[in-house]
Every structure is written in structure tokens, then in C-alpha cells.
């Protein structure tokens, strides 16, 4: 091959490189951060069944009952219902992340390119420049085809999924911020009254009252910790919802720098919230 052929190869390479610049990186980055943030659900310290068991054990402890029967089936059902919503969102984000990740569609042409690079085909020898150009074209063709396919699929799925995605996010937010936080608030109030009654019990010595006070402060701190975890998690859910909506509404403008910038900010916010969340973990 002469210099002219290398020049043509170079030109083709550049054209294909431009064609294959269907950059799904912002989708991949966002869905990756969203998936990670969403998964914090599994490490939330508080849940419906836990609240029921805590209450049951506390009451049993007051009655000095060591083998309590705790009827918490409905609370376990509430946890399952919440988990079903989480799981559906998580599976979807995982699929979106894998579909938009470059690794999924980066085809392996190594076996072929190794042979070409080594110039092992009998009479034909390739110069390093020729081999490089050949290898690059092979890779770019493969990725250009698959990127076009992935781009269309990502567009289709994100647009179709958005209304349901928003609804599921909204209900998960609702269940955690209103229902679970409500139960936590009730438990905090019950705890306050229970410890107040113990503290005012005239049969307790000053030493015992001090122990009661310390126990109350420890319990209060634990419940506040659960509350903070839920608050941060709900903030992450809101960011995930906004990010997905941004993606769905602007998906036809793939080159739009604003969309990438917006998603990048949201991914950054999610990472920051995730960092706060991890710090809260015991």
C-alpha cells in the first residue's frame, strides 16, 4: 500500500470516528450514579417491620416479658411493597446503564488485529501505520453500527419509561417521606413519653434516673440518625427523577451541551448526597 492509500484510510478513519461519536457517556454516567444512589435503599437502617419490632420489644421489656409475640405481618408486607417499587426502578436503571455503557458494545476484534499487527499473512506485510489504520477502522465500524443501534434503543426506552419511572419515584418518595417518616415520628414521640414516665417514677434512684436519661438520649440519637438517612435518600430520589425527566425531554438533542452539563451536575449532586449518606452509616 502506498502513501495515497494510507491517506485514504486516514480520511475514512476520521469520517467514521466522527460518525461513531454517538456519545452515550452522559446517559451512562447519570444512570450509573442513579443506580448507586438508589441502591442505598438496601442499607436504610429503618423500615416498617423494624419499627413494629422495636415497639414490640420495648413494650415487652417494660413488662419484663422475654418471649414476646410480635404481630408485624402487615409491616413486613409494607416493606415488601416498598421493595417491589425499588426493585423495578433498580432493574430498569441497571438495564439503561448497561445499554449506554461503552463496554457493552465495544466489539472485540483483538484476535484479528493481533494477526494483522504481527504481519503474519505469508507474503503480505503490514507497516505499523497501515496496521494501526486497519485496526482502528475495524473497531470504529463495529462501534459506529452498534452505537447507532444503542442510541435509538436508549431514546425509545427512556421516552417510553419516563411517565412510569416518575410515578414510581414519586410513590417511593411518598412512602418513605410521609409513611415511614410518620412512623418514625410516632416512635420518637412514644419513646419521649415512655422515658419521661420512667424519669418521673418516684421509685427510681437518682443513679437509675441518670441511666434512664442516658438511654433516652442514645435512643433519640439513633432515631434522628434514621430520619437523616431517609431525608438524604429522598433527596437522592428527587434528583434521580429530575435527571430522568431531563433525559427524556431532551433526548432528541443528543449534541446539546446543556443536557450533558445538566446531567453532569445532577450526577455530581447525587454523588455528593451519596457521600453524605455513607457518612451517616454506622
Amino acid at each position: 500500500m502506498g502513501k495515497r492509500k494510507i491517506g485514504i484510510l486516514g480520511l475514512i478513519w476520521m469520517m467514521l470516528a466522527m460518525a461513531s461519536c454517538t456519545n452515550l457517556r452522559h446517559v451512562s454516567d447519570f444512570s450509573g450514579s442513579a443506580k448507586k444512589g438508589l441502591a442505598s435503599f438496601e442499607s436504610l437502617g429503618y423500615g416498617f417491620e423494624k419499627s413494629c419490632l422495636d415497639k414490640c420489644f420495648e413494650q415487652s421489656s417494660q413488662k419484663l416479658e422475654l418471649n414476646p409475640t410480635c404481630p408485624c405481618q402487615q409491616e413486613a408486607k409494607a416493606d415488601s411493597a416498598t421493595f417491589v417499587i425499588y426493585q423495578a426502578l433498580s432493574a430498569y436503571l441497571d438495564g439503561l446503564n448497561r445499554l449506554s455503557a461503552n463496554e457493552t458494545a465495544r466489539y472485540n476484534t483483538k484476535a484479528l488485529t493481533d494477526q494483522v499487527a504481527s504481519g503474519s499473512f505469508g507474503g503480505i506485510t503490514f507497516s505499523p501505520e497501515q496496521a494501526t489504520a486497519y485496526i482502528n477502522i475495524g473497531n470504529i465500524i463495529g462501534n459506529a453500527i452498534s452505537n447507532g443501534y444503542r442510541k435509538n434503543k436508549v431514546r425509545q426506552y427512556v421516552t417510553e419509561a419516563d411517565p412510569s419511572f416518575q410515578e414510581l419515584i414519586r410513590f417511593l418518595e411518598f412512602t418513605l417521606s410521609r409513611n415511614l417518616k410518620g412512623i418514625l415520628r410516632n416512635e420518637t414521640s412514644m419513646s419521649q413519653v415512655t422515658y419521661f414516665q420512667l424519669y418521673r417514677d418516684p421509685s427510681l434512684s437518682t443513679f437509675e434516673k441518670r441511666q434512664v436519661a442516658n438511654e433516652y438520649f442514645a435512643r433519640k440519637r439513633t432515631l434522628e440518625q434514621y430520619g437523616k438517612e431517609i431525608d438524604i435518600y429522598v433527596q437522592m430520589l428527587a434528583k434521580i427523577g429530575v435527571g430522568h425527566r431531563e433525559l427524556a425531554e431532551n433526548i432528541d438533542q443528543w449534541s446539546l451541551a446543556d443536557l450533558k452539563s445538566q446531567l453532569s451536575i445532577l450526577s455530581g449532586d447525587l454523588e455528593e448526597l451519596y457521600g453524605y449518606y455513607k457518612k451517616l452509616q454506622p
Binding site: 416498617f48 417499587i85 432493574a91 505469508g122 444503542r150 426506552y157 412510569s164 412512623i183 413519653v193 414516665q197
Partner: protein, 134 residues
């Protein structure tokens, strides 16, 4: 109760919780002035209010699923489609593997090297067999 929506159950939970809070504020503020019987009665009442409130919140979390049935079905369907697309991508990899092996055979034929031709033909046959068995 079966016609109660998740939002309505939460709203009831909020109301019971507030009633419990109001009894608590009175109880704590007037503790010394209350008789033992009054303390017992009020204590039971507020605990009952918070307990009912928590039951309402729990019921709401269960009812949420009824409200979300259509959305859950749709998002699961889309997730299954993504899975199938990813499988197709794996098939594209097979197609590219086959194409790569064919290119290697073409290069070997051009080189007129019998050993390279034989190896490349075996390689191509192997890739086609892999694709058929997948």
C-alpha cells in the same frame, strides 16, 4: 376500608399523629396537676393514637402497590425489552466475530499462504459453529 387510597390512609395517619401530639403536649405540660388515673388514661390514649397513626401509614405503604400496578407492569416490560436488546448486542458481537474471521480468511487467501488459509478457514468454521450453538 378497601376503597381507601394510599394518600387518604396517609392523611388519616397524619391526623391521628397530630391528635397524639396534642394529648402529649397537654400531658407533659400538666403532668404534676394530673391524678394517677388521669395520667394513665391520657397515656393510653396518646399511645393508641400514635399506634393507629402508624397502622394507617403502614396500610398506605401497602395500598401504594394497588395504585401503581400499571406503572410497575410497564416499567417491568421495558426492563425486559432492554434485556432482550442486550442479548441482541451479544449476537452482534457474534456477527462481528464471524466477519472478522472472514476478513482473516480473505487476507490469508490474498497471501496465498496454504498454512494461513487452513488456519483461517478453521477459525471461520469455529465462529459459525459457535453462533449456531448459542
Amino acid at each position: 376500608m378497601s376503597t381507601l387510597s394510599a394518600e387518604q390512609a396517609t392523611e388519616l395517619g397524619d391526623q391521628f399523629s397530630k391528635m397524639g401530639d396534642e394529648i402529649r403536649d397537654y400531658y407533659l405540660g400538666n403532668f404534676d396537676a394530673l391524678s394517677h388515673e388521669e395520667r394513665d388514661t391520657m397515656s393510653k390514649q396518646m399511645m393508641e393514637m400514635w399506634s393507629m397513626s402508624s397502622s394507617m401509614y403502614t396500610l398506605s405503604a401497602v395500598l401504594v402497590l394497588d395504585d401503581l400496578d400499571a406503572s410497575l407492569q410497564q416499567i417491568r416490560g421495558i426492563q425486559a425489552e432492554i434485556g432482550s436488546t442486550l442479548k441482541n448486542l451479544a449476537n452482534v458481537q457474534k456477527a462481528i466475530d464471524i466477519t472478522g474471521a472472514a476478513v482473516a480468511l480473505a487476507a490469508a487467501l490474498l497471501s496465498k499462504d496454504p498454512k494461513a488459509i487452513g488456519t483461517s478457514m478453521e477459525g471461520l468454521a469455529g465462529k459459525i459453529a459457535d453462533a449456531k450453538t448459542a
